[in-house]
């Protein structure tokens, strides 16, 4: 799947602003970005639900509106962020309905088993928990045995347990040779599931690579976050040994450091010398979140 130069303008905003992507067969590709970055619009353009103002999309060697959209839809599976399936219908009836739209695909029972809803097969959709509803949505996307699966924020709003079970389903699909395009604003999700990640902000890709590459690009493997009683100057901090980058959000400083063993004692000495005192201090392994912060100065969840 590839797209080039995608632009989508709405009356008041440009949601997608010149986007190029390439997703290879068999990989799980993640679009990571805060709310409003244009992820959903991008996915809907790729799914052929929203026409782009500019740019081209090619899926499985085919283009949308080239006359055979239905054949292309046979080969993709879609889970939309906002769909709320009919509440009065049972799990099995829902999957059966979706199955009937496709020429070929999985057995209804089998898909229900794959997403772990056997016990709920005769329950009405309205009675399911958030995680179960989301697994049902994924079941409806999987029922056609698609080559390419689109998941738009599949775990947003779910508790950790529900998130884990959804991750299992996604990983199983990928092990079976399927290709996945996934959007998320959870960096753990992108790190765990995705082979490659594109970080999106304001309708553009601002970084692209494997999660490991992106984190490495920070030139650091650790982040120190701290706050102190008397503010320190930026210069004092960036001049410390092994410090590669500095961000300040409110009272909290975030230092990305290449070697924690050198940077931390130096920082503590500096704080003491400035006659300041530590209020909070934490260190963690650098993550995709830190990549996003270093590129934009904002947190993913700030939106």
């Amino acid at each position: 799947m590839r797209c080039a130069g995608l632009v989508k303008r709405f009356t008041d905003v440009t949601a997608v602003n010149g986007l190029d992507l390439e997703v290879f067969a068999g990989e799980c590709f993640g679009l990571l970005g805060p709310n409003g970055a244009g992820k959903t619009t991008t996915v809907e353009i790729l799914e052929g639900l929203t026409p782009a103002n500019e740019g081209t999309v090619e899926l499985l060697g085919q283009r949308w509106t080239s006359g055979d959209d239905r054949a292309l839809r046979e080969r993709i599976g879609v889970q939309l962020q906002e769909t709320q399936l009919a509440e009065k219908v049972t799990v099995e009836e829902t999957v059966r309905l979706f199955r009937s739209f496709y020429q070929r695909g999985h057995n209804v029972d089998e898909v229900i088993r794959t997403v772990g809803l056997e016990e709920k097969r005769n329950s009405r959709v309205g009675k399911l928990s958030g995680g179960q509803k989301q697994r049902l949505a994924v079941a409806c996307a999987l029922v056609s045995d698609p080559e390419l699966l689109f998941l738009d924020e599949p775990t947003t709003g779910l508790d950790p347990q529900a998130r884990l079970s959804l991750w299992d389903i996604v990983e199983k699909f990928r092990e079976g040779g399927g290709t996945i395009l996934l959007t998320t604003h959870y960096m753990e999700e992108a790190t765990r599931l995705c082979d490659r990640v594109a970080i999106m902000d304001h309708g553009k890709v601002i970084a692209l690579g494997t999660p490991a590459e992106l984190i490495e690009s920070l030139g650091a493997d650790q982040v120190i976050e701290f706050s102190v009683t008397n503010p320190l100057t930026e210069e004092d901090l960036t001049n410390l040994p092994a410090v590669t980058n500095l961000h300040k959000r409110g009272d909290v400083y975030a230092l990305t450091v290449s070697e924690i063993g050198i940077a931390l004692p130096a920082l503590l000495a500096e704080i003491k010398q400035q006659q300041s005192e530590i209020v909070t201090l934490t260190t963690h392994q650098a993550t995709l979140e830190d990549v996003f912060v270093s590129l934009t100065g904002r947190m993913l969840r700030d939106g």
């Binding site: 839809r73 879609v78 739209f101």
Partner: protein, 364 residues
């Protein structure tokens, strides 16, 4: 058996199992959703029956009430007793002697239709000529008194009393209620379901599958067909049992017209639901469309009562057309061919609304 096991183990695709047809599954989903919505079942099936019952009882044909007359008895009047005596001879009159104040009060409040004031050798009638029952009372009382005083009839008359089934109010009402019910369930049934599906992004989700769009819309027509038969039958059977209602025309014609009516209002429902994204939006639109027809289309009383200038407009309304055909078939037993004008009007609405709806329908 061994074969079945093998395909299960082999896993992924299932070429051998029963093929699910999208139209069947979509229609089944519609039917299930409807039956599991208790309120909808009430409004479509129970409400029209209750309505028929209530209105049938309220306007049932009973023996005509006696005309109520007050005889004004002024102090010292002598012939009050004679007048009372004459009036009491008539089986159609109930007369009471009242004081002038009481009589005036009784007339004003409608307890009596006329006040008779006996003079020395004449009568004075006091009544409101704008009230039909008072005019009738004036004629009746005068007739009784004149005869009592010795007037003789010069011409002989014969009478034949007609109040057979087919000419009563309930006979007028039942086809109208069926028409109104077809309109209501068509518009609500389609309008709401489609707009809810749109607002919950289910339409968008369907648009992302290879589902044929015509299948989706057709499934509404088919599920309507299932319920249409039931809802019309419920009202007819009830009216037959409770009021001795009979259908004079052919059942086949009636079925065809009912289906056409159901489809016409489904088409209009689809048109109404083609664009709105909120329930509020579609509710307003539906009331805007249905209210004039409730009032004008002759459900509870004949639409002929409205001024002549409005008639061309009223006759073009789909509900007027449907009510007219239903009445002609059920009450008069006429044929489809003789009702081609309202049938053509219904067909026109069906085709136009369906085509326009398909053109402007929004899937997200």
């Amino acid at each position: 058996m061994a074969e079945a096991k093998e395909t299960l183990i082999a896993g992924s695709s299932e070429p051998k199992s029963r093929k699910l047809h999208p139209l069947v599954e979509l229609t089944m989903t519609r039917v299930r959703e409807f039956l599991r919505e208790k309120e909808a079942v009430f409004w479509v099936f129970v409400f029209p029956v209750l309505m028929t019952f209530a209105l049938g009882i309220a306007f049932r044909n009973t023996a005509p009430d006696k005309t109520l007359v007050a005889i004004e008895a002024e102090a010292g009047a002598t012939n009050t007793g004679e007048v009372a005596n004459i009036l009491s001879q008539s089986p159609d009159v109930t007369a009471t002697v009242l004081s002038p104040e009481e009589a005036t009060q009784a007339l004003r409040s409608g307890k009596v239709s006329i006040v008779v004031k006996p003079q020395r050798d004449s009568f004075e009638y006091r009544y409101d000529p704008t009230r039909p029952e008072s005019r009738t009372a004036r004629l009746l009382v005068d007739d009784v008194l004149q005869r009592g005083k010795g007037r003789t009839d010069v011409a002989k008359v014969g009478e034949e009393k007609v109040s057979e089934p087919g000419a009563r109010y309930v006979d007028f009402l039942v086809p109208g209620l069926i028409g109104m019910n077809l309109m209501g369930s068509g518009l609500w049934g389609l309008g709401f379901t489609v707009v809810i599906a749109r607002s919950r992004k289910i339409l968008k989700r369907f648009a992302a599958t290879p589902m044929k769009r015509s299948h989706y819309l057709l499934s509404f027509m088919l599920s309507r067909l299932v319920f249409l038969v039931l809802e019309v039958a419920a009202v007819i059977v009830f009216a037959a049992v409770a009021f001795g209602f009979t259908v004079r025309g052919s059942w086949l014609s009636l079925t065809l017209v009912t289906v056409l009516g159901g489809f016409t209002f489904s088409g209009i429902g689809l048109l109404v639901a083609a664009r709105p994204t909120t329930i509020e939006g579609v509710s307003g639109l539906m009331n805007f469309i249905m209210l004039p027809m409730w009032l004008l289309s002759g459900t509870f009383f004949s639409s002929e009562r409205f001024p002549q200038v409005l008639q061309p407009f009223i006759q073009m309304l789909p509900l007027t057309a449907l009510n007219n055909v239903l009445r002609a078939l059920m009450n008069e037993g006429s044929s489809l061919a003789s009702n081609w004008v309202p049938i053509a009007i219904l067909l026109f609405w069906f085709v136009v609304s369906f085509i326009v709806a398909l053109k402007i329908f929004k899937w997200q």
